[in-house]
Amino acid sequence: MTNSISEIEGAGCIFVIGSNTTACHPLIARRIFRAKENGAKLIVADPRRIQLSRFADIAVNHRLGSDVALLNGMMHIIIKNNWQANDYIQQRTEGYDDFGKTVEAYTPEKVKDITGIEPRDLEKMAELYATHPPASLLYAMGITQHTTGVDNVKSCCNLALLCGNVGIPSAGVNPLRGQNNVQGACDMGGLPNVLPGYQPISDQDVIKIFSKAWGKSIPSQVGLTITDMIPAILEGRLKALYVIGENPKLSDPDWNHLHHALKELDFLMVQELFLSETAQVADVVFAAASVAEKDGTFTNSERRCMRINKAVEPIGDALQDWDIICRLSTAMGYKMAYDTPEDIFNEITALTPKSYGGMTYERLGINGLQWPCPELDHPGTPYLHKDRFPRPSGKAQFHAIGYRDPAEIPNHEYPYFLTTGRMFAHFHTGTMTRITPKLDAEQRTGYVDIHPNDAAALEIEDGDMTVISSKRGEMEAPARITDSVSPGTLFLPIHFGENPTNVLTNSKAFDPLAKIPEFKVSTVNIKKFS
């Protein structure tokens, strides 16, 4: 997030696209409700009719995967009406001309053909966003899990820049992070191309600094992403995998494909709380401590680094993850010895001077600190890019982005769109929530959401078992008839291992740059189970 969670309350307009916020980020939804009640305008764009849609000044259900067209269409109208922030564009951005030319082609009529949104509705979205500053744009996986994920994100940025909404309070481009420490995992260099603090592997000076600090020379060739690892396994290039606290067998696209790949591995090592679907096929499973059983820090969506504190001893012989890694590394001949997570944190802050450099455990206290926090007396940064953007020119870049279709468009064999996501009581692959009685009670099984018209045409009644199939495979799920989905579109939650949604999704369709799979769009067929 460029801005802070609490700042949402001060927005003049909130544009939520591709985020079912009340179910997936409920305490951020709270801020949206409060902003709305303070008089902010609310725009909701989502393929489904979500709880937030009920409160929106304008809510649209655009066709799956048509986000770029929708955003370009809004910007087309903004420029037509001269609502853009001219001074801001001139002083703080570059690349506007090329971008403007691209957007010019996205007339409301053309956008209607792609997205299904009426020109009148699009006009209203554009007007509300552009004329009620500061405007805060919130998105989640509904924007990113596409073959055009990067294009979608860039289009969101274009819109915010066009109206001068980056670098001021209560505005910004705000991706809502789906996991407690996905921000921190990225910050800490849990990526194949960067070291901690987003310092690029390609920079020889960076390699030197880390090689010196770690007493070992660091490889300078960029590594494989998770999406590249699967073909690498199948081609015999990747032989061993160490999986920590993840359940890729359920969360990755095209389950059958991955299932096969994991079997091809010479060695699979999994570090987990539970015997997850992935752990079940491992060669070694390390029993790890849970959130309540360890010390350390998490960094949330708004870049706030906060301490977690050990409340109880780990269950059985389970060990804290850092302890397991130290033992393994030392056994492999590279000694890692720390007394406490605080020692590790101090090593991190020394190597990430620009972001975490000014943080100490004592300073974090309970409130934490938001990076960048470069000095010991720096108060942290509630919103980014106040005076300049982190580019050589100091200016933000507009990107000319054209619309591209998703990888799959319904045809006679697979006539339905399928989208996937979370429901309010469960989390991700369900390893933590399905064993929690109070959450399990809310939803015990998988299901498929289907529109009443489609259900009627297929003679499916509420609760009937259905078979859903795609090019990749098929699965069964009971039908839930609801008008929250549009006719021709199905929704499947991702939490239920016995109804593994990712049997259906497409592992070959991912964003070429970010390598994120297109979970939000695939095509399927559905029929009543007989």
Binding site: T22, A23, P26, L27, A29, R30, F33, R34, K36, E37, N38, G39, Q51, R54, F55, G365, I366, N367, M423, F424, A425, K438, A441, E442, Q443, R480, T482, S484
Partner: protein, 272 residues
């Protein structure tokens, strides 16, 4: 006060004392005991409000012989009374240190609660209720409008169950809110308005108007107002004063005896 608590702990009048202590600038609930007497110097009474009585009841259910002291404002006193009346807590094992109600300009229609009444946004006042409204103000709206305003508020619910979880007088092992025959388990919001009305009904003769539910509500639903109305009905119909009466409400359905004794003659308004 700190001296008193120390004395209680030293003399064994109580085994533990529930109060608050500041940690990294945050007032957090804290259990003081004989083993950490020095900590008592750091005992503070506010401004935090956590359900200390509920925590005490939970401790006693695990350790029936323990003697507990705790800080209690007016609402805390009423909580202990309700828990006692409903046989949930033997108050003999509880020693209370009274603390003044939070200074509040809401005092004319509330006994304590909000330290500073939060300003409610203009749009909430258009579509829903200002949480600081009085029942009379609410009833000045026509029934249809009142109904629509409640529906607006209930539609914001994200089904966190925070209102129930934090409630110092919610003690049932099985909760009707989780009964799928009563409330359909589906998407958000939970079935409108049944979810909140089921809870409201269960608050009749129990809610002690501490406001913790509303404090815990992510959607700012005016729950306190709703339960206050329910208790007003209880007062009007059954002449039962929740929180101060020393017997169970007349419409109690716990156990074998079911009584529904109406207060004699008076026209009452039962709508929300």
């Amino acid at each position: 006060m700190n001296h008193m608590v120390k004395m209680w702990l030293e003399q064994g009048k109580v085994d533990v004392f529930l109060g608050y202590k500041r940690v990294d600038g945050h007032p957090l609930p804290h259990v003081f005991s004989k083993d950490n007497l020095a900590d008592v110097d750091e005992l503070i009474t506010g401004p935090a409000r956590y359900p200390l009585e509920k925590i005490a009841a939970a401790i006693i259910s695990e350790k029936p012989d323990i003697k507990i002291g705790l800080l209690a404002r007016d609402c805390g006193q009423r909580t202990l009374n309700v828990l006692h009346v409903w046989n949930q807590l033997n108050t003999d094992s509880i020693s209370v240190l009274n603390v003044p109600c939070c200074p509040s300009n809401l005092k004319e229609h509330a006994d304590c609660s909000y330290l500073e009444p939060e300003k409610r946004g203009p749009d909430k006042q258009i579509h829903g209720f200002d949480n600081n409204m009085s029942i009379d103000d609410v009833e000045s709206y026509k029934p249809k409008e009142r109904f629509e305003r409640w529906m607006y508020e209930f539609q914001k619910c994200i089904k966190c169950y925070g209102c129930r979880n934090i409630c110092p007088v919610c003690f049932c092992k099985e909760c009707s809110l989780e009964h799928h025959d009563l409330i359909e388990a589906k998407d958000l919001p939970p079935e409108v308005p049944i979810f909140h009305l089921v809870r409201a009904v269960h608050m009749a003769g129990r809610c002690i108007d501490c406001g913790l539910c509303e404090d815990a509500c992510p959607a700012d639903i005016p729950l306190r107002l709703l339960y206050r109305k329910v208790n007003q009905v209880v007062k009007d119909v059954f002449d039962y004063e929740t929180g101060t009466s020393t017997h169970q409400p007349p419409f109690s359905v716990l156990g074998e005896k079911v009584t529904l004794e109406l207060k004699p003659l008076k026209t009452v308004s039962m709508d929300l």
